[in-house]
C-alpha cells in the first residue's frame, strides 16, 4: 500500500488554493478528466436521482430528484437546477446551484431563499453530492500510487490512487482521496476529508451500465465518516442529453420553471 504523502495535499486554507500552488501532476489530471467523463456526460444533460437514506440499516427517507445540468461549452463550468419530484410534500421545490450561488425556491410561498453552500438540504448527502460536478474543474490532482481496493460490489479492483485538493471556491470538499480503476478509469471509491484530515464520508461507486455512450456508475453509496450506520444511496437513472439555457441559471427563472 502506498503511503499518503501529506505534503501532496494542498497546505493552503480552505478554498484558497489555485492550480499554480497545488502540486498537481499532468498524468493525475488526465486520469481525473477520464474518470469525470465516466461519472457524468460531457455536455448538458438531464438525469433522475433516487436518494435513499438509511439509519442502522433501516430506510428512513427517500427522495426523487430531477437534475438539469448545464455545461458551459466554453468554460466547461457546470450549473445545476434540481427539482424535487417525491415525496408529495416537497414536489415542485427547486434548488439552483450555479458556482457558489445557491437558491432554494418553494412554489407554495413563491419565496426564493438564498442559502449558503454549507447548508445541507438532503439527508446525509451534501448539496454538492446531488449535483453533477467535474472534479477536474474544482480540484487539483496528484498521483499517490496504486492499490487494490474493494468497490461498491465488494469486488477487488486494481486502482490508481489520486489525492485531490480544492482548487476553486466551488469545491464541495477540502480534500478527496480518490481511487480510479486502472485502464478503464472507472471511479471506484472516494474518501472525502476536511481541511484537518478528518474523514467526513466515504463513497463507493457501483452498478455500471452504459448510458449516453459510456459505462456510468448508476449507484453511489455514501457512508458517514463517523458512523457507518448513516448511509445514503444515490441511484442515477434516465440520463439524456438536453439543452439547458443559460437563463435557467438565475434566481428569477425559478418561478417560471417548466420542463417542456
Amino acid at each position: 500500500m502506498c503511503c499518503v504523502a501529506p505534503q501532496l495535499f494542498n497546505p493552503l486554507p480552505v478554498h484558497a488554493a489555485s492550480p499554480a500552488t497545488a502540486p498537481a501532476d499532468a498524468e493525475a489530471m488526465n486520469i481525473l478528466e477520464a474518470s469525470d467523463a465516466i461519472r457524468f456526460p460531457s455536455r448538458s444533460f438531464r438525469m433522475n436521482i433516487d436518494l435513499f437514506e438509511y439509519r442502522g440499516g433501516k430506510q428512513v427517507e427517500s427522495l426523487l430528484l430531477t437534475v438539469f445540468a448545464r455545461i458551459d461549452p466554453e468554460t466547461r463550468a457546470i450549473g445545476n437546477l434540481v427539482r424535487y419530484e417525491r415525496p408529495a410534500k416537497d414536489s415542485g421545490k427547486l434548488m439552483l446551484f450555479h458556482g457558489r450561488d445557491l437558491w432554494y425556491y418553494d412554489p407554495a410561498s413563491h419565496a426564493n431563499i438564498r442559502l449558503s453552500p454549507q447548508q445541507r438540504l438532503i439527508g446525509q448527502a451534501a448539496n454538492g453530492d446531488v449535483m453533477a460536478t467535474r472534479f477536474a474543474s474544482d480540484y487539483t490532482a496528484a498521483h499517490a500510487g496504486e492499490e487494490e481496493v474493494s468497490d461498491g460490489e465488494q469486488v477487488k479492483r486494481e486502482c490508481v490512487k489520486l489525492l485531490l485538493g480544492a482548487a476553486t471556491p466551488t469545491a464541495t470538499y477540502d480534500k478527496i482521496e480518490y481511487w480510479v480503476e486502472k485502464g478503464s478509469y472507472r471511479p471506484v471509491k472516494a474518501k472525502f476529508l476536511s481541511q484537518s484530515g478528518q474523514l467526513l464520508k466515504t463513497a463507493y461507486y457501483r452498478k455500471f451500465e452504459t448510458s449516453l455512450d459510456s459505462p456510468r456508475p448508476m449507484e453511489m453509496v455514501i457512508i458517514d465518516g463517523l458512523n457507518a450506520g448513516l448511509v445514503t444511496i444515490m441511484r442515477f437513472s434516465k440520463f439524456s442529453y438536453r439543452t439547458v439555457p443559460v437563463s435557467w441559471m438565475q434566481r428569477d427563472f425559478l418561478p417560471r420553471f417548466q420542463e417542456n
Binding site: 427517500s62 457558489r100 450561488d101 407554495a108 445541507r120 457507518a228 437513472s237
Partner: protein, 439 residues
C-alpha cells in the same frame, strides 16, 4: 459526582444517537423500490390536511374574571394543483379551508370556517414573455421576517395558523391581476397590474375576499440583475391609487461558504401607523385612505450563518419610520381614556392586519437545527424583540416527519411588561400540536 452523571448522560445520548455498523453492512444495502419510473409530466396535485389542537394560557392579571386558559381545535385542508394544458400554458390553483372549534361553542359555527383562495391563475408564455392572469401571489423581497418590499402582503392573512413568517407567506391571499415577466441572461423585468374589483367587506363565509387584495388600483415594476460575487440586486416601484408610489431596493449576497447577507429598503409617502389606522373608511376598510406624507423609510438588514450543515442562525434588524417612537408607543400601550383605548386597539389591529410595525425598531434572532443529534427531529425558532419597549415574541417549533407528512409542536410566548407591545397580548403562552398529511 455531578460530573460522573454528566458523563453517563453524555454516553447515553451518544449511544442513542449512534448506531454504528460496518462498511460491509452498508454496502450490502440494496434499495428495492425506485420511483424514477414514475412519469414526471409537470402535472402536480396534492391535498394537505392538518389537524391541530391549540391551547392558550391567558394573562389573568389583565383579564380579571376570565378563565386563565382555554383551547381550540382546527382542521385545515389545502389543495394545490398545477395542470399543464400544453408545453406553454398551465393552470395553478392553491386553495385552503380552515375549520375551527373553540371551547364552549357548539361543534360547528359558520364564523369559524375560513376560506383562503391563495391562487388561481393561468400561467403561460407569449413570445419570449411569461404571462400570469388571475389571482397570484406576488412575493417581493429577500428578508426573512419583515420585508418592506413585499407590498402585496397587506390584509392577505385570513387564517393565522402559525406565527412562522414562512408559513404566513404560504397561507396568504394572492392579488388578482396580470403579471408579465421578461427574462434576460442575467436578470428579469416583471410588471404587475391589479385592478380595483371590490371595496365593501364580504359577508359570505366562502368569499374570495377580493376587497382585501383588490380594493385599489395597483401597479408594480421590478427589475432584478445578477451581479458578480454571488450578488443579486432588485429595484421595485409600486403605485397605488391616490398617488402613492413606493420605491424599494433589495440586495442579497453570499459571503464565503457559510454566510449570506441581505438588505432591503423602501421609501413611501405613508402617514404614521396611527393615522393610517384611524383613517380607515368602514365602507371600504381595506383601501388606503390616509393623507399622503413626505417619503419615509423602511428597512430590513440580515445575516445568516451556518456553523454546521444542519444548523443555521440568522439575525435581522428591522426599521420603520412610519411606526411609533418610544414615547408614542408608551402612550399607546398605556391608554388612560376610552378614546385612547380605542386608538390603541385600532392601531394594533391595523398593524397586525397589514403585517406592518407598531414600533420603529425591532431585532429578530432565528435558528434552525435539522436532524437534531442524528435524529429525525428538526427545530426552528425565532425571537422578535421590540427594541423600544423591550417586549419580545418567542416561537419554537419541533417537527418530526413521518411517511406522508409530519407532526409538529409549536410553542409561542409573549414577554414584557404590561404596557408594552407583546406584554399587552391576551395570550401569554400558546401551544399548538399539529399533524399533517400530504396526499
Amino acid at each position: 459526582m455531578g460530573r460522573r452523571y454528566i458523563l453517563l448522560a453524555s454516553g447515553l445520548v451518544v449511544a442513542g444517537c449512534v448506531q454504528a455498523q460496518s462498511v460491509d453492512d452498508a454496502l450490502a444495502i440494496r434499495p428495492e423500490q425506485s420511483e424514477s419510473n414514475l412519469s414526471v409530466d409537470g402535472r402536480t396535485q396534492s391535498l394537505e390536511l392538518e389537524l391541530a389542537g391549540v391551547g392558550y394560557r391567558w394573562r389573568p392579571e389583565t383579564f380579571v374574571g376570565e378563565e386563565p386558559s382555554t383551547g381550540s381545535a382546527r382542521l385545515s385542508a389545502t389543495w394545490r394543483l398545477r395542470h399543464p394544458f400544453n408545453n406553454r400554458w398551465s393552470l395553478i390553483v392553491n386553495d385552503a379551508l380552515d375549520i375551527g372549534w373553540y371551547r364552549h361553542e357548539k361543534p360547528f359555527v359558520a364564523d369559524n370556517v375560513r376560506h383562503t383562495l391563495q391562487e388561481a391563475y393561468l400561467s403561460g408564455r407569449l413570445g419570449g414573455s411569461y404571462i400570469d392572469a388571475g389571482r397570484f401571489n406576488e412575493r417581493i423581497g429577500v428578508a426573512y421576517g419583515y420585508s418592506p418590499n413585499d407590498v402585496f402582503r397587506r390584509h392577505t392573512i385570513i387564517s393565522r395558523v402559525s406565527e412562522d413568517p414562512i408559513a404566513m407567506r404560504n397561507n396568504r391571499l394572492g392579488t388578482v391581476g396580470m403579471r408579465v415577466q421578461q427574462l434576460f441572461e442575467r436578470g428579469s423585468l416583471v410588471a404587475v397590474v391589479a385592478p380595483r374589483l371590490r371595496q365593501r367587506a364580504s359577508e359570505a363565509v366562502l368569499s374570495p375576499y377580493l376587497e382585501r387584495t383588490n380594493s385599489d388600483w395597483q401597479a408594480s415594476l421590478r427589475a432584478g440583475v445578477k451581479l458578480p460575487l454571488e450578488t443579486q440586486l432588485e429595484g421595485v416601484a409600486h403605485y397605488r391609487e391616490r398617488g402613492r408610489v413606493q420605491w424599494g431596493v433589495n440586495l442579497s449576497t453570499g459571503l464565503g461558504d457559510s454566510v449570506t447577507a441581505y438588505v432591503e429598503y423602501a421609501a413611501s409617502p405613508d402617514a404614521d401607523v396611527i393615522s393610517r389606522a384611524l383613517a380607515l373608511d368602514p365602507g371600504r376598510p381595506f383601501a388606503q385612505t390616509s393623507p399622503l406624507h413626505s417619503h419615509r423609510s423602511r428597512y430590513s438588514v440580515g445575516l445568516t450563518v451556518t456553523p454546521k450543515p444542519n444548523v443555521t442562525i440568522g439575525l435581522e434588524a428591522q426599521g420603520d419610520d412610519t411606526a411609533l417612537d418610544r414615547g408614542e408607543l408608551r402612550l399607546l400601550m398605556a391608554p388612560a381614556t376610552p378614546s385612547q383605548l380605542q386608538t390603541a386597539l385600532a392601531a394594533a389591529s391595523y398593524a397586525s392586519e397589514t403585517q406592518d410595525n407598531l414600533g420603529r425598531h425591532y431585532g429578530l434572532l432565528r435558528a434552525s437545527w435539522t436532524n437534531i443529534c442524528g435524529s429525525r427531529v428538526s427545530a426552528s425558532s425565532f425571537v422578535r424583540w421590540n427594541v423600544l419597549d423591550h417586549s419580545r415574541f418567542s416561537w419554537l417549533q419541533l417537527e418530526y416527519p413521518h411517511a406522508s407528512g409530519s407532526t409538529a409542536l409549536a410553542l409561542a410566548h409573549m414577554g414584557g411588561d404590561k404596557a408594552t407591545e407583546y406584554g399587552n397580548g391576551r395570550a401569554r403562552v400558546t401551544a399548538q400540536l399539529s399533524i399533517n398529511w400530504h396526499f
